[in-house]
Subunit: 198 residues, 2 copies
């Protein structure tokens, strides 16, 4: 950020800018995302944007930051532990969380993940780490002895697999198919059961 907003008014302006930018970005895609349109949609002038953001990418970076926070909040809904939960119930919660995450402004989510280049690794990496942690927790819950090194890989496999399926489904507008949800749960459970056996 080029300059920190000090007064109430400017803080509101920054919010307006970011929200307008997010809408434009989701609607147009990164390639056609322009600061001029953002300003016009937000009802502010381009100058105001550059008062607080050094360039277009920094603005997108702020959008990403806010969006990922919202996504984590959506996943956190499925967090409470319960010793008596079956593996199925646990997997279901995890998957519902991931689906919910993708439902937080689907278009924006897709554009942010697929199109916007990431300047600083920091934001995205932090998020991915937190994301992975959720999976590790489910894996730790699965029966059988836990080999830390293998669990680490299992986490990456599971997160990659679930993300892949959900992401593809989102692109085809089939995020809420119950059949798909059931198969995904089956996938996760089958994998975890198989691991405990070997």
């Amino acid at each position: 950020m080029r300059k920190a907003p000090r007064q109430q008014r400017s803080r509101a302006t920054v919010d307006t800018i970011v929200e307008a930018a997010a809408r434009v970005l989701a609607w147009r895609g990164w390639a056609d995302f322009t600061t001029n349109e953002t300003a016009s949609v937000g009802g502010v002038s381009v100058g105001s944007i550059y008062q607080y953001f050094p360039n277009k990418l920094a603005l997108a970076e702020e959008i990403r930051k806010r969006h990922l926070d919202a996504v984590l909040a959506a996943i956190s809904g499925s967090e409470e532990r319960d010793g008596a939960m079956t593996l199925e119930q646990c997997a279901a919660k995890l998957i519902d969380g991931v689906v919910a995450a993708h439902n937080v402004d689907q278009d924006l989510h897709r554009v942010l993940l697929d199109e916007v280049p990431l300047a600083a690794r920091s934001t995205q990496d932090e998020f991915e780490a937190e994301y992975l942690r959720r999976y590790q927790r489910v894996i730790a819950l699965a029966p059988g002895k836990s080999d830390p090194e293998r669990d680490e890989i299992a986490g990456r496999v599971l997160s990659g697999a679930v993300e892949g399926v959900v992401h593809t489904a989102a692109r085809h507008g089939e995020l809420d198919s119950p059949a798909l949800r059931a198969e995904l749960i089956e996938l996760v459970c089958a994998y975890l059961r198989g691991r405990s056996a070997s």
Copy 2:
């Protein structure tokens, strides 16, 4: 294509252009992919590009077409049927094929899938359909009665999952990790085994 190359020379020029463009696209990404740099890298003039391609996107479209052909060829290496193959061996072949596909010019592959907008659905859709067919074949091989409708979803789940894991691994430069390969095979087999049981 604006004009079909009729002579030997022009056919070679078109190849040069497409190859240079692919290199530039992979190196710079879609956002910074310029026809001017392509011309300079290929040792031809911009004019020659527009002699055969109506615009930049059409050029990218041709790159995609050629790349997807190469990818399919890479997967096809793991195609021969063998009735005596175990489920594990079959899954292993499938996964090795997908990994091989991602190894065909990794950078270009990522840019084409993640960044370049698809003008005409045709090319990509054809490819995805063919891709799915490979998975369906493996699923058909799994034991148990086959419910066509459920198999269809299973194909999408499997392809999405495997793609997701491999894609993530590729981004982190861990495409050739044997441990990851083993876990992926386990994932596919566990899922298919579980389906036959229920």
